[in-house]
Symmetry: C2
Subunit: 229 residues, 2 copies
DNA sequence: CTTTTGAGTTGAACGTGTTCAAAATCGTGT
DNA sequence: ACACGATTTTGAACACGTTCAACTCAAAAG
């Protein structure tokens, strides 16, 4: 209720979060214990729950922090690169690189696909984070000149965001050395997407593509224009 | 270790599974308690764990049972229908219909995307179930005459299986009345898929499609031909 | 200075899924 | 009928995430 912007108790919160990340790093997310985290922070278990709703909320806090830390780099990437391919490669590559040391932590987040779960990437609770993230894809699309049907273009940022989520999901569980399978999936699917976009913008074969693009447009409108999701 | 095919203790197993399904139906999966399930079956908690490795394993048992019960119907659908569209519509529609009364139960299964988790649809432990399921899609593809590049055709059944998984995932969390959004997603995406397949088989525009189909073929080969997944 | 307030903190207690050593029961050979 | 090993069953115990009534104590109010 006080008016200070930086109450001193923020220190405690930070200490708990730092302790959590340390223990997560040592034991992994699942094996880490709230009791151990509290002990590491020199605090009682209850204190951890005073600042964080649940164990997963600690990971969410980590993600929010990551998002803030990455924002400048992503912005630079958007400004530096000129094609959509460069932009997507840059944005997604940056994220994977950033999260690489904490792969198992990220899996604790992507593990919840139920949109009803507050920590799901699709939940209403995470909408602000999602929207901020979406902004980068909107810029990536807007600042590239793309020939695409008007029924599809408006949904492209959200489709790309979804594409990125899928990629991260694959990456999180990718057991190949240095996650090279994800690397490959990324390269190939990126090529495919750009080829598809190019194809969809080609005037001469429009009638051939219609049976594909028409239901696509209808679907996107119906799925996205009701409710959040 | 004994050689009897139907040991009488099978009775206990069945009673526990039946009790579990009853309690799941009443309380939902999460709220249901192993203690309550055991009580309902007139048995100690330990007994439930003697027959089932974990709480989720009860859902897995339900799924195996469902698969067996559905097999004849799926077989009939394959025999009855003649186009790929009819086959896919039939197979997937049948499954959704069958599982409709137990939607929340299915969500307990699809909730694990980690391939390392034994109950994940992608785990090694569930490979037999997955393969049996895949068989229906293989038949659906084989018995339809399709013009598709040889680099892609062999993977089509697995792609269709994956498509079905995605659809089920959406369905499980679909909060719209009567799951009509899933219905729509199903109709539209099915149309799109068939249009895409038709397009890919069209000779005249082959060079245009090459930048799309070539990386697709390479990707599929690389992803599927190493390890299980 | 005294009292009141409420954010911050504590740790025992709860309910959960799961484990496991022991007890009960069963099947079979003698 | 008995014994004995394997199978089945028991329920107390464990570790965990989470809750919450009680406690502290600095600062605002009187």
């Amino acid at each position: 209720m006080a008016r200070r912007a930086i109450p001193k108790s923020e220190e405690t919160r930070r200490r708990i979060l730092a302790a959590a990340l340390k223990v997560f790093g040592e034991r992994g997310f699942e094996a880490a214990t709230m009791r151990e985290i509290a002990a590491e922070a020199g605090v009682a278990v209850g204190a951890a729950y005073y600042y964080f709703d649940a164990k997963d909320a600690l990971v969410m806090a980590f993600y929010e922090q990551a998002q803030e830390e990455m924002a400048p780099a992503l912005d630079a990437i958007l400004k530096r690169s000129k094609t959509l391919e460069q932009r997507l490669h840059g944005i997604i590559g940056q994220k994977l690189e950033y999260f690489a040391p904490n792969r198992t932590l990220v899996s604790a987040l992507t593990g919840h696909i139920d949109p009803a779960h507050p920590l799901s990437p699709f939940s209403r609770a995470t909408a602000p984070i999602r929207d901020r993230d979406l902004g980068f894809f909107e810029r990536a699309v807007a600042e590239s000149q793309l020939r695409l049907p008007a029924t599809i273009l408006p949904f492209l940022p959200r489709l790309l965001w979804l594409y990125q989520m899928g990629l991260v999901l694959f990456w999180v569980y990718d057991r190949s050395p240095k996650q090279e399978r994800t690397e490959m999936l990324f390269e190939k699917t990126l090529k495919m997407m750009l080829a598809a976009i190019k194809l969809a913008g080609l005037a001469p074969i429009k009638p051939l593509l219609k049976p594909l693009l028409k239901p696509a447009g209808e679907l996107l409108r119906a799925i996205y224009d009701e409710a959040a999701c």
